[in-house]
């Protein structure tokens, strides 16, 4: 393995670690609520044995909450499964908006912790031939650096459009952040991925945006 591929793999491993740690925390939060609800049911039954009547509506509310949290935990595990599979995928045909949506879902908890909201712009799907995991990794590096520059209330809208044989992903930041500084940090931290995917990273200070331009078909 060349040192260059090693750097791509090393960044990928770090990204995979960050995402799985974040996802496992989300699962733990769901388990904590399920645990408390189950415990509360036990408490209420114990109280009923001492003469306090059981309220059927209350029981129903607790059961609903458990069901909701199990569903939420199941969604999280599905997301983890999909993400885990993306790491060992070869070059595939995939919708770019699907990749952006997946990145948003993966990063949402960490974004919320920083007070940042992430949205996907409306638009038609564009098929690309690429390595989704590597694009998600590069997007994560962009988002992570936005979190460092942003304050609470920051909004980031992700969008993609086709330009000839290229795809251009845009991260638009509202309110404005120093996108030139963002461009430098992303170029430095994501350099092996940028080289691997043949991406041009370009700040647009007027639009408070960062553009990632890459070929619509991954070139080995």
């Amino acid at each position: 393995m060349s040192s260059y591929h090693g750097k791509v793999d090393s960044l990928g491993l770090s990204f995979f670690g960050s995402m799985t740690a974040s996802i496992s925390h989300e699962i733990k939060n769901s388990l904590a609520i399920i645990n408390e609800n189950a415990g509360l049911l036990g408490d209420l039954v114990a109280l009923s044995e001492k003469g306090r009547p059981l309220d059927p509506e209350r029981m129903k509310t607790i059961a609903d909450s458990i069901r909701r949290r199990v569903q939420s935990a199941d969604d999280i595990v599905r997301r983890l499964n999909r993400f885990a599979h993306s790491a060992n995928q070869p070059v595939v045909s995939s919708g770019i908006r699907d990749i952006l949506a997946c990145t948003i879902v993966l990063s949402e908890r960490l974004a919320t912790m920083k007070g940042v909201s992430l949205t996907l712009a409306d638009g038609d799907e564009i098929e690309v031939q690429t390595l989704p995991f590597v694009i998600e990794n590069l997007l994560w590096i962009c988002l992570k650096n936005i979190f460092l520059l942003a304050g609470t209330g920051q909004q980031v809208m992700l969008d993609a459009r086709r330009e000839a044989s290229d795809i251009v992903i845009t991260l638009r930041c509202t309110p404005e952040i120093p996108v030139k500084q963002l461009e430098s940090s992303v170029a430095a931290e994501g350099q092996p991925l940028i080289f691997f995917l043949r991406v041009q990273v370009q700040a647009d200070p007027d639009g408070s945006s960062l553009h990632l331009r890459m070929p619509i078909r991954f070139i080995e």
Binding site: N29, A32, N35, E36, N37, G39, L40, D43, T112, M113
Partner: protein, 158 residues
């Protein structure tokens, strides 16, 4: 007199259920759904024990911990989190956490830790802000529960 507890967690559903379960067990529970709300409450009321989540959107739990300890160096604070990495656990200990528990938690263990922490808390009448400060300097005391938890974290990794 019931032990007064301030629960701080950004998950309001978790907060409400845990508060109810602790109240059933005879504790006097107040809740705060954010670090800022907790600091506001801290300015008007006195709590024997604080139970604090580490990961909250508006203010990091470690920052809340640091601020609470700055306001009251004798405050008994138990960290209850699903995000107890070794680094953050050690940092919480250094900042003055009395103990550290991971979610999901066994309620009996949590109540036991709260009562242990309450036994080590100074007695100040509720609402008596004048009596809060200055607290006498606290001696460093061993915290076997916390050390046990940290050993568990090291065994389980990050």
């Amino acid at each position: 007199m019931a032990v007064s507890v301030l629960l701080i967690d950004d998950d309001e559903e978790f907060l409400a259920i845990l508060a109810e379960r602790l109240t059933i067990r005879g504790l006097e529970v107040t809740t705060a759904a954010s670090g800022r709300a907790a600091l506001d409450l801290f300015g008007t009321a006195w709590f024997k024990v604080v139970v604090l989540d580490l990961q909250m959107p508006d203010m990091d739990g470690l920052e809340v911990l640091e601020r609470l300890v700055a306001l009251n160096p004798a405050q008994q604070i138990i960290v209850l989190t699903g995000h107890a990495t070794v680094t953050r656990g050690v940092r919480a200990m250094k900042l003055g956490a009395a103990d550290l528990l991971e979610k999901p938690v066994d309620i009996r263990e949590l109540v036991e830790k709260i009562n242990t922490a309450a036994a080590g808390a100074p007695t100040v009448p509720a609402g008596n802000r004048a009596g809060r400060s200055p607290y006498p300097p606290q001696e460093e005391t061993p915290r076997p529960g916390l050390l046990r938890t940290l050993r568990g974290l090291f065994a389980g990794g990050e």
